[in-house]
């Protein structure tokens, strides 16, 4: 092991395990083991990708290294940084100085501080403004973005601000917890280039992702996690063809679930004749326009029709207003002009809205104070079959949202949107944050329901490969904004 390179060992994780204390019923306290037998190491100048299904413990490992686990977590095993154990006092000393994090959730940005200030706050010496503007240019953010508050930025832009924050600190070990989802292909390319740059500068990078595709372009080594265990440590070259070079069946499944590989698996897709239905039954977005206060128009006279059973894909650059359009169609916002017609009528509904939006960030779409059971009760979706189809485990129902991963939470959001009275679903980047297997599963469920129950689906995504796989037709958002 020591002979591998001249490079020093930066981080070593050995037989690491992690459990949560929690209360089952009343006063009984039980321990819930979520991570066990975790092994990996990172050398200087090396990029190690950690790939795994959501809920496999990737983010928990990152939090353990940084010392920001929730208070009811109990950890065991060895965590060494530069040859010395990481104690909690040492973690506090190293946080942000030697170990730095690019967090997963854009909630990590201070909502009350302009983004340029947030990045500058991390810089210790030199001309703060110059460094910040420089890093903004490097990650492809316009300089004016620094004068905005996080809520004024799109998901992709906010993510770039987070990446910029970690890059300006002079840490030796950078933990990138899902820094790439939600980025359009161009921005993704830039981010990957920056991370590679960091490694060339001698820093160790722990690149946590569910996206094997990106992992393979960035990393030197790929560590695959499943259900809290290290399944395999593979070289990048092993991922090819149908995954014959991969040792573990799980790694193979993950590789094969990618949209460009064998996405649908052996589940047959139901094909229904949807265009024979009467024309009256459709979701029509009739010439809507929108802008934020006195800003420039995001779109003018946007027109769009979704027929039942049809799956339409929309792609476009981040910040172009796709999410805003989705929110208007689903009734969260009012358009400046224009209407949204469901089956020919502007919807004045009592009860559940026939158009349901599934949000990009499930952790914001679920009340953090509720047990998951209540989320299902709220929407009246306790159908056992559907829950099984989505892979929602029974024991998750008694957990709180903070104890589940993004992928696990998103399944609940999908279950909620598949209510029998829902006729149209808008999916706004819903699987961007999820691993390939969960992504394939969710889309199988959604597309199957769309076909069998004649539900129209509008898919918003940056991932062209995914859209090609699931959609009947694909629209470029730039073509319909009329700007």
């Amino acid at each position: 092991m020591e002979i591998i390179g001249i490079n020093k060992l930066l981080l070593e994780v050995k037989d690491f395990s992690l459990s949560f204390r929690h209360y089952k019923k009343g006063l009984r306290e039980t321990k819930l083991q979520v991570v066990r037998n975790l092994n990996m190491c990172i050398h200087e100048g090396e990029i190690v990708a950690i790939v795994g299904a959501s809920g496999s413990g990737k983010s928990l490992l990152a939090n353990a290294i940084l010392g920001i686990l929730p208070d009811h977590a109990v950890q065991e095993g060895i965590l060494n940084y530069k040859g010395m154990p990481l104690t909690s006092e040492r973690q506090v000393r190293l946080q942000g100085k030697e170990i730095s994090l690019i967090p997963q959730s854009v909630n990590a940005l201070d909502p009350l501080m302009k983004t340029a200030k947030q990045v500058q706050a991390v810089i210790r010496k030199g001309d703060k403004q110059a460094i910040q503007e420089n890093i903004f240019r490097e990650v492809g953010l316009p300089i004016e973005a620094g004068k905005k508050y996080p809520f004024e930025l799109s998901g992709g832009m906010a993510r770039r601000v987070l990446a910029a924050t970690a890059m300006v600190s002079d840490a030796d070990l950078i933990i990138a917890d899902e820094p790439t989802p939600g980025l359009d292909p161009k921005a993704l390319h830039e981010t990957v280039a920056i991370i590679k740059q960091l490694a060339t500068a001698g820093k160790g990078v722990m690149f946590i992702t569910h996206d094997i595709d990106t992992a393979l372009t960035v990393a030197d080594k790929v560590v695959v996690f499943n259900q809290g265990e290290t399944v395999e440590t593979a070289d990048v070259a092993d991922f090819s063809g149908h995954g014959e070079m991969l040792k573990h069946p799980f790694t193979k499944a993950l590789w094969n679930a990618l949209p460009q590989n064998d996405f649908w698996g052996d589940v047959p897709l139901m094909v229904e004749e949807y265009h024979t239905r009467p024309l009256k039954e459709r979701l029509e977005v009739d010439k809507i326009s929108y802008r934020y206060q006195k800003g420039p128009y995001l779109f003018k006279n946007l027109h769009l029709v979704v027929t039942p059973g049809e799956v339409i894909g929309i792609h476009g650059y981040s910040g172009s207003g796709k999410t805003t359009m989705a929110q208007i169609i689903a009734g969260y916002r009012e358009a400046e002009t224009g209407n949204v017609l469901v089956d020919g009528r502007t919807k004045k509904h009592s009860g559940i809205n026939p158009v349901q939006l599934i949000w990009q960030h499930p952790e914001k779409a679920i009340n953090p104070r509720w047990q998951m059971k209540k989320v299902l009760v709220e929407s009246g979706m306790l159908d056992k079959e559907l829950l099984e189809e989505l892979g929602i485990k029974h024991e998750w129902l008694t957990r709180y949202p903070s104890e589940l991963s993004g992928g696990e939470l998103q399944r609940f959001c999908v279950a909620r949107a598949l209510h029998p009275n829902v006729k149209y679903i808008i999916a706004d980047e819903i699987t961007t944050m999820l691993d390939a297997i969960t992504q394939a599963n969710l889309w199988k469920t959604i597309v199957n329901h769309a076909r069998t129950r004649n539900v129209g689906v509008l898919v918003i995504s940056h991932d062209g490969k995914l859209l090609n796989k699931v959609c009947d037709r694909i629209i470029n958002f730039g073509d319909i904004t009329n700007l």
Binding site: F20, H22, D71, H72, I352, S402, R416
Partner: protein, 278 residues
Amino acid sequence: MKGIMKRGNLRQLTIAQIVAAILFLLLIIISGFLIGNDKLAIHLDMKNTAPSIAHPFGTDWLGRDMLVRTLKGLTISLGVGLLAAILSSLIALAFSLIASWNKRMDAFITWLIDLFLSVPHLVLLILISFAVGGGFKGVVIGLSLTHWPSLTRLLRGEMLQIKSAEYVGISRQLGKSRWWIARHHLIAHLLPQLFVGMVLLFPHAILHEAAITFLGFGLSTEQPAIGIVLSESMRYLSTGMWWLAFFPGLSLLIMVGIFDILGKNMRKLIDPFHGQKG
């Protein structure tokens, strides 16, 4: 801490503390009710005695037993403070929910808060308690109608924040009524703040009760409320009768402290983010 943790987990410990605090408060209330007026009688032959076994808290200038007077006073003050704090926080909760209804309601509630905060507490308190007839009833009504504004402002802010959360929007799109959302999303979020606010209101209410009683607009002087006991003892403090102020004051402090413990522990039980810390 380790020894305690071994014997029971955190939730058991929390409940044990809550039960202990409630028992202690009940003890004060029950003992206060059991003490008849005969125990408060004047014994001029026993006046101004220092604490002894027969009179642990000593006696005052009329020979009345200070332990009995303190317990009775605590019961009255507890009743006044508790009632006023509960009523005030209920008003605050109701107003903050009304403010969540629409923009006009919000503006009205905000205006009401500003109006009440711009008039001095004590003046309003005297006006209201005098207008409704004074005595125990007057003090409680006066206190509860004057102590809600700052808590309402806090709750309204929290409520506005939670109202714009994505999951509340989703709930609305799922066809949930305003009342359902208020009950399940808003109140669940406001409850911890409400409890803390109530605990903070409690000593405030007691002190104001003592203040207007001192000014002669509150409880009548033959009722030994803790405020009256304390203000009377001030006159005798310079003559070296320290026990007249010391023991009742300490008891009041302990009672408020118990309330604080109660509030914090209840919060641990209610709030999942605090409930599982080791």
